[in-house]
Assembly symmetry: C4
Homo-oligomer: 198 residues x 4
């Protein structure tokens, strides 16, 4: 099986799991995986990420342009490419829309304090307070990527949220990126619940 | 496969997905698809929309009358027919009952501001504030349809809610109508959550 | 297939659907169906209702005693038998434990006003206000049944809740009892959400 | 089938059920079962508990050391071993992370009063008020186990929670441990909801 086909299989599986959790409503969300030093596989624009077939995953260069003419990669492709360009260990990037991420990002800053699950991001202890960066939404993705880049270089975060939009997480493989997405969404759901009870 | 059978297959699939989300409790909800200029396929009255079989989908004229004598189309058939009559691109109409739609519609007006997901309805940017029309429930469906019609003609909405009842959404196909339903229910769930946290 | 085996198949299916919604945690809940004028099929005590096999469904007389010696019917069998005894049309009774039913019953009286879904219980319009009776929990089931009986005879309710415990619903068949259970749980979830937003 | 393989099959099944409820995000959670007087089967560290295969379950002695060299048992193995050592009837131990357990444990003491479901833990009546012990999280698991031991010996609880982390429950078999986990998570969800409505 070609590396593109392998990536397509993994991404379709991740998409199904995200769909089961309600994280890819309609044609929202996008998923990608690294194929080699210069190429990534990413979901096409305008397809339901919970029901991906091989034809829905296309090859894209690190500058965001599709390998095959006429194919339309995800609108947010540059946000994926940025992560592969900056961080050699990144093997996959997942972007979903959850109610928790959307609502919390509209309510103010987000941070996680004393949660055991934070160890999913490499911390040795729960006794930390970690901020989740929140960026203003922007239809100009190139401009948004420029805004995010210094922060990524200064201190790689556990992921980030685009206000009123959704989260970006990444990992060494599609499977590991999905684990980190699950952990991040779990933390967001805890924060949402925590703010409701007095 | 006849166009009726094709429609039945798509509608049964959409019904299963709606059921998995809890949007068709009991025999609530109704789903339809356009067959040709004068005919639609719609779910019968009194069946569980999450477990549809071909016999549960019947042909109905645009005036709401069943093609075959003795068949009982959905009670809300005229609300479906209205959309096919007014908007040529409409290929499918979905009506479900969600807790979020029911509760929010009973609490007052509903609008969505700065949500990325609003782009699912054709907007180019998230920087919009879109109202979701709320209509008083009415057992006289013909009268309800008359009330709704001027609004539909003046400015086609992203969908609408009947107070204490549920949403109506539509799209160019059953699949696209389902994507818009998922997006609308996502927005409603966000609004519900947003109003709970201070 | 014998009537017992038929009932077992339907009840196992209903149990799986209730389990998917989280309504039969552990070995909680019980499900039954009428076999003939003097016999019902009911789930045994101490089994997970989401994973029923034929051997988990036993025959019981309308007085609550098991047909086969040594079999242990559900602890709440008399509450089922009461409904079959009083109401000839009842073909199935379902009892589940939902978070909404448990929490609301502990918070005070419960009623549903202007909900479209109330029509699932035979009302012609949504413009009604229907009380859901709440009874104090009691480990003496015979005593509890005696307390409930006059109310059932005076005005058959849409179902009832035992405080801190769960709902009882019924219908002409297992399928129709399940539809009414779904509708009732939907109403309870709406009430729970309604009381949270201001 | 060897006892290890049998245990692996049961644990994988329990893991899938926990995953369906969102209780094992990422590589969180751990599951074990008793094999004989001196050996338990426990999930390896760093695997997704919702997708366990036989190779993910390893044999460990009651002192926490892996039988096979090089295998890495769960970080929290000593908490499992403690329960098998102290309580002969314990056949399985399940640890998951739920939003309810995490959030409530961070909000203060937890107790359950007048819930019917408490009978899942052996009580004869709902008319009890049962505390769920909450322990401060600690990356030094041996130290945490030492802190918990006197309480376990003084009065075996229905389970316990580690603050900001998750619950530990146990039972005579994997199936019965899962039933108790479902019941405990149901109670926690009720408490979470109860504190939100006034």
């Amino acid at each position: 099986m070609s590396r593109l086909a392998e990536a397509a299989t993994s991404l379709a599986e991740a998409g199904r799991r995200m769909d089961a959790r309600g994280w890819v409503p309609g044609s929202a969300g996008n998923l990608s995986a690294r194929i080699d030093d210069e190429t990534i596989a990413i979901t096409r624009s305008g397809v339901h990420k919970g029901r991906l077939v091989n034809a829905d995953i296309i090859e894209v260069a690190l500058d965001g342009t599709a390998r095959e003419q006429g194919q339309k990669p995800s609108a947010e492709t540059l946000l994926h490419c940025q992560l592969y360009r900056l961080f050699a260990p990144v093997g996959a990037v997942l972007h979903g829309h959850s109610v928790a991420a959307t609502v919390l990002s509209m309510a103010g800053p987000i941070s996680f304090t004393d949660y055991e699950i934070i160890k999913a991001f490499g911390f040795a202890t729960h006794e930390v307070s970690i901020d989740l960066p929140v960026y203003e939404n922007d239809q100009d993705i190139a401009r948004l990527a420029k805004l995010i880049e210094p922060d990524l270089l200064a201190e790689p975060p556990i992921g980030y949220v685009i206000r009123g939009h959704g989260v970006y997480t990444w990992g060494s493989s599609v499977e590991h990126a999905y684990w980190r997405l699950e952990a991040l969404e779990f933390l967001l759901q805890c924060e949402l619940e925590r703010r409701r009870i007095k």
